[in-house]
C-alpha cells in the first residue's frame, strides 16, 4: 500500500456491519437505560435517606439535648454524610452540563475541567470527610463499650475499622481511575 488512496481502497472494501439490532432495538435500549438511571437514583437516594434517618433516630432517641460523646460522634458522622451527599449532587449536576454534542475539543476541555475539579475534591475534601467521619465513629466507641456486650463491641470495632480500610481502598481505586482519565484528556490537542 503505497499511497493514501490505497489505504482508502482497503478501508472502502470493508463489509457492512452485520448487526441484529435495528433502530427500534436502540430506542428500547435507550428507554431501558433511562429507567435504570431513574431506578439507581431512587435506590441511592433511598439508601442514603434511610441511613440518615437511622442516625437522626438514634440522635433523638439517645437525647438530642445532651451534649455528650454520643451526640458529638453521631453529629460529626451525620454532618460528614450530608457533606458527601451534597458534593455528589453538585458533581452529578456539573457532569450533566457537559453536552455530548459539543465539538470534540470543547468536550475534552470541559471533561478536563470537570475532572480537575473532582481531583481537588479527592485530594482535599475527601480525606478530610472520610477521616472526620471515622473520628466521629471513634468518639462513639466508649459509648458502645458501655452499652454493648464485649463480644458485640469487639464486632463493631473490628468491622468498623475493616470497613474504614476496605472502603478507603475502594475510594482510592475510583480516584486513580479518574486521574488516569484526566491525564489522558490532557493529551488532547
Amino acid at each position: 500500500m503505497k499511497t493514501f488512496e490505497d489505504l482508502q481502497n482497503v478501508w472502502n472494501q470493508q463489509s457492512n456491519p452485520s448487526t441484529d439490532q435495528s433502530a427500534s432495538d436502540y430506542v428500547k435500549k435507550a428507554e431501558q437505560h433511562q429507567n435504570e438511571i431513574r431506578s439507581n437514583h431512587v435506590w441511592t437516594i433511598g439508601i442514603i435517606s434511610i441511613t440518615f434517618l437511622i442516625l437522626v433516630g438514634y440522635f433523638v432517641w439517645i437525647g438530642i439535648y445532651r451534649f455528650n460523646a454520643f451526640s458529638l460522634g453521631l453529629g460529626i458522622m451525620m454532618l460528614m454524610l450530608l457533606t458527601r451527599i451534597a458534593l455528589e449532587v453538585v458533581s452529578i449536576r456539573k457532569f450533566r452540563n457537559i453536552k455530548p454534542d459539543s465539538t470534540l475539543l470543547t468536550y475534552a476541555a470541559q471533561l478536563q475541567q470537570f475532572y480537575n475539579w473532582r481531583k481537588r475534591i479527592h485530594f482535599i475534601l475527601t480525606p478530610i470527610i472520610y477521616i472526620t467521619y471515622f473520628i466521629g465513629f471513634t468518639i462513639l466507641l466508649p459509648v458502645f463499650k458501655e452499652n454493648m456486650s464485649s463480644g458485640f463491641y469487639l464486632y463493631v470495632v473490628i468491622s468498623g475499622f475493616a470497613f474504614f480500610i476496605g472502603f478507603g481502598l475502594f475510594i482510592m481505586s475510583r480516584i486513580l481511575k479518574e486521574i488516569k482519565l484526566l491525564n489522558f484528556l490532557k493529551t488532547m490537542k
Binding site: 493514501f4 478501508w11 456491519p17 448487526t19 433502530a23 455530548p100 489522558f184 490537542k189
Partner: protein, 164 residues
Amino acid sequence: MDKKAIFNGLYDSHHAKVFRLCKGYFTGNEALAADATQEIFIKVWENLEAFRSESNISTWLYRIAVNTCLVFLRKSSSKKEIASEVLPQTASEPYIDEKEEQLRKMYQCIQKLDETGKMIILMILEGIEYQEISEIVGITEETLRVRIHRIKKNLTQCVQNENI
C-alpha cells in the same frame, strides 16, 4: 417529522459509518465497536429533542460519536480496557485474507496517532467532508487541512513500514 422517524433516518444513513469509525478507533475490536455504537445511538435518541439545528444533524451525530468513543474505554469497566489491549493477532494465522491483514496494519497505525488525529483520519476514511470534520472537531478548516496532510503522510509511512 416525529422523533422516531428522524431517529430511523439517522440510523439508516449513519449506522454503518459510525460502527466502522468505532471499529477503527478500537483497533478492529468488533465487540467494543458494537457496544460503543449502541451507546452512541442511545445518546442520539436521548438528546434528539434538544437538537436545535445549530449545525447539520449529521455533524451533531458525529460529535456524539467521537465524544463517546473518546471516553468509552476509560469510563467503562476494566474488563473492557483489558479487552481493548488484546489486539487480534491475525498475522500469525495461516491463509489470512490479504485485505484483512492490510486492514489490521491500518488499525495498528491509526493507534499510533494522537487522539484527535485518530478521529480526524477515521472521519476522512468514512468520506466525511472537511468542513463537517472541522465542525465536529472544533478547529478551523485551514488548521484541519494542515493536520490532515501530516496525518495522511504519517499513516501511509507507518503502513509501508509495516509491510517491510
